[in-house]
Amino acid sequence: MKRIMINKDLCYGCLSCSLACMAEHGKEKTTLYHLDLENKENSSRNFIALDSNNKPVPIFCRHCDEPECVDACISGAMTKDKNTGLVTYNQEKCASCYMCIMSCPYGVLKADDSARKIIMKCDFCGENSMPKCVESCPNQAIYLIEVNAI
């Protein structure tokens, strides 16, 4: 399966990855140029955080081999797909209990900023395509690698 590799030293915090994620996952898919930043429903799955040296660090879902979010999920909404390796989120099943948010060891997860019921979970932009975040990084600080993780 593919995973998004991160070279944080190449990240200068432009946030194109987060904006691209918001644009891709909004109610209507759009591009960075048309993204409505005032609409709370547009939310990025990934984020950039500053470390203690004030350097930007990309924090992205790993689609872990042993996902804590899946272990913690009480509704069966978070599952690991054996074939694709992706950890997928089913909004219909989700009980909005926040166990996954609490359990992700890297603090990747959050709820939506509107009703706070939907988990903002990376879906790799559909299995086969290049994720929009990777596509939009001007510096290739994030890029795809192949891992044999099932």
Binding site: R62, A72, I74, M102, C104, V108, K110, V147
Partner: protein, 410 residues
Amino acid sequence: MKYVIIGAGAAGISAAKTLLDFDEKNQIVLISEDEKAYSRCMLHFVIAGKRDIDTISFVDEKLFDSDRISWISGKKVTELIFVEREVVLEDKSHVSYDKLLIAAGANAVIPPIKGMEHSKNVFVLRNIGDANAIREVASFAKRAVIIGAGLVGLDAASALLSLGLEVTVVEMADRILSLQLDSYSASQYQRVMEDMGAVIYTGVSVVEVKQNRNGFVETVHLNNGAVLECDLVVTAAGVRPNTIFIPDNSLEMNRGIQVNDCMQTSIPDVFAAGDVTGITGIWPAATKQGKIAAYNMAGKDEHFDDYFSAKNAIHLFGIGTVAIGMPVAPDNSYVEAVWKNDAVYKKIIYKDGIVYGIILQNDVSRSGFWTRVIKEKWKINTSVKNIFDVTYADFFCINEEGEYTFRQQP
């Protein structure tokens, strides 16, 4: 190899899934008292009519498509004959095993209050039968008393308030959710509940309940003299491992069935996982223990290592809270740092750079790394950074497989 699993809860289903993945010619038999597999954490949605038994399932039905797994549902286990390697069911049938996993869960405890027994309108909330019965009585009841303001009690309160009942909650501790929250964060839930018409008594206990001659409890009597009139009582006073079918002097027991890190009991080829072990009562522990048990049953040496259970996620009454570690500092050698505005409350308890507890209310975003940091007691350098600005970025480390690990702070 024939694997038999008793219990279709988080641990049992996790074990079954794991055993199926091993792609061996194993045969798995799942036995459960439950007719269907469902998430007990969502029973209050059933009471409220928001979901039903099928939509609180946490299991992918495709799990049972394999012809390597069969499920004997709706049958209680009455006896275990270890020397014969047999499980005996309530219909007197015997199921033989090569390896056995006991994942029979826990039962709700009814507190020994005078008048509680044999009453028609006093319920616990643990099984689908309880939820259905409460919903049934709530359809004509007007006033409910809930004994216990822990997670289950407040789940019940949330459901009954949404159905329009007058709800009174009685709690012995000085605040609701006393095991998880501090006074301020608990008071936020209390305020919203009171705005919905709930009455909450803290620092009191129930001395007696009185039934009418038809066996319905009509009054609940508190130790402060208050008498609560009601037509429905839900008692949420804790659970006890379900071990009644274990023969005396067979397995080593403690709070529940004693196991080692490999989920092995004192009898070879017999394993236990989940609430029945009494280790912790939380869902992720059950899922992981079920997985570990399955690995070891299949001869693979894996160890359970996540004993840290002081972690709670609460989302009720529109307020989301994540509470990890200790909710209140035991003395003032600890720093209790608070960040607060009208909507959001954050409190971190730390000492000498080690964080012992955190409560995040109404802003739980991206907070999961704290679970790991608190569990492992990793140091935070509070002199270079505001503790509320700490994220996983401060621990960032990535390996060749793109997996994150944790870089320790000096």
